[in-house]
Subunit: 242 residues, 2 copies
């Protein structure tokens, strides 16, 4: 093996497996590479037994913290120099994970807030498509610091959950037209209510919604995370200390 100037990426995955796979694919495609050996070293722990994050936040379900910490520590032991979690809702539990390891965790939420400021700085109102757990936990509160943050009304929020967890949801049967139709209708309602940008605030949302399905800019949090991971792993950020 030749010495590599890049950092090894550890992915705390499995929430769900599809979103983990999609982040992996986007990291590969976001990496400047002409041959296998130019790609990043990525270690993925796709452990779907992590207790449901939404259930823990809204229904008193089992906490996912012990599982997330175990996954982060497994990745650190295996050689990861930086970590990422392709699950927005899990970011409600990010601080105990960060404290349990000696390597940095690139936060999907912090990177999304940064990306909204950089790419949609003009927007006075941003709409959020996310799970009940994410919405109620306020994990995306930082998005509302510089502008109004709106979320779907109750009936519409139920549609978001159906498109993710329902019998025809993307977690249940994978990407499909019905889930896409439901998610697009909720996005359109947020735009009617004034949203000038939409944040796909659950890693499963982009599995049901493409940029062309919404009239306003769609911030894809998995894309944002993939680009941040490549930036941090390749040192393309310049002198920033991890």
């Amino acid at each position: 093996m030749t010495a590599r100037a890049t950092r090894t990426v550890g992915i705390i995955g499995g929430m769900g497996p599809e979103a983990t796979c999609l982040l992996f694919q986007r990291i590969i495609r976001a990496t400047p590479a002409r041959r296998d050996q130019d790609h990043l070293h990525v270690i993925i722990n796709c452990d779907p037994s992590v207790p449901d994050r939404t259930a823990a936040l809204v229904a008193g379900g089992e906490s996912p913290v012990a599982s997330l910490v175990a996954s982060a520590q497994l990745l650190e032991r295996a050689g990861a120099h930086l970590l990422a979690m392709p699950c927005v809702t899990a970011h409600a539990f990010v601080e105990p994970v960060r404290r349990a390891v000696g390597v940095p965790l690139v936060s999907l939420v912090e990177e999304t807030a940064r990306a909204v400021n950089e790419q949609c700085g003009h927007a006075r109102c941003v709409g959020l498509l996310a799970t009940d757990g994410t919405v109620r936990s306020g994990v995306f509160g930082c998005l509302g610091e510089r502008r109004q943050l709106i979320v779907p009304e109750a009936a519409q929020q139920a549609e978001v959950m159906a498109a993710i967890y329902g019998p025809r949801g993307v977690k249940t049967v994978g990407p499909n037209a019905e889930a896409s139709r439901r998610m697009a209708a909720v996005a359109a309602d947020l735009v009617r209510r004034g949203a000038e940008a939409i944040v796909a605030g659950c890693t499963e949302v982009p599995l049901a919604l493409a940029a062309g399905d919404v009239a306003m800019p769609l911030m894809d949090t998995l894309d944002v995370l993939a680009r941040a991971v490549v930036r941090e792993a390749t040192g393309a950020c310049g002198g920033r200390t991890l």
Copy 2:
């Protein structure tokens, strides 16, 4: 975490990252699951610094064995109960990897030979699309035990390599129309020469060739491996001892 009756899968990946990601996706889709927690625990070590397998086999390049063994041992330490390598050419080195770990490695080559016998048992002649290293190493020799095995003629074999490694190859720039056109032309030539089934004998071939692009059955070795991994990890094979 709840007790799980399935085995944890370890993937010796990075050869290349795209094929690793594709195997991951196919394992997810081949798993009977209705929610995140039903999926398999999969640990992926995508280490693209493994020395080029074809260069080692045909040009006296650095051996990949030390890297492959290190990757297998990392996965075993992390908790994998069975291993898989989404790279056909690497299977020329499978025995030293197997000897270095205490868990079984599900061989893509052995599983492909089994799948050809099960699904194309009638075929008297099978055509192989693979890298120079795989062709010359005879790693797929077992395919010729019950039937004739043919490979592309020299100029056509150069086209296969161009579609994988060339400036517009799938390892260089990802899936694209030019690579697909080249690979389909070589497959058509194998069919003209008598092949009644085509084995996509490099994990990058399916990135350039779909079943509809060939007039005869196309055995996708990544699909075969994904189904074998799910079978072994879920114990769906019945009493077979791993």
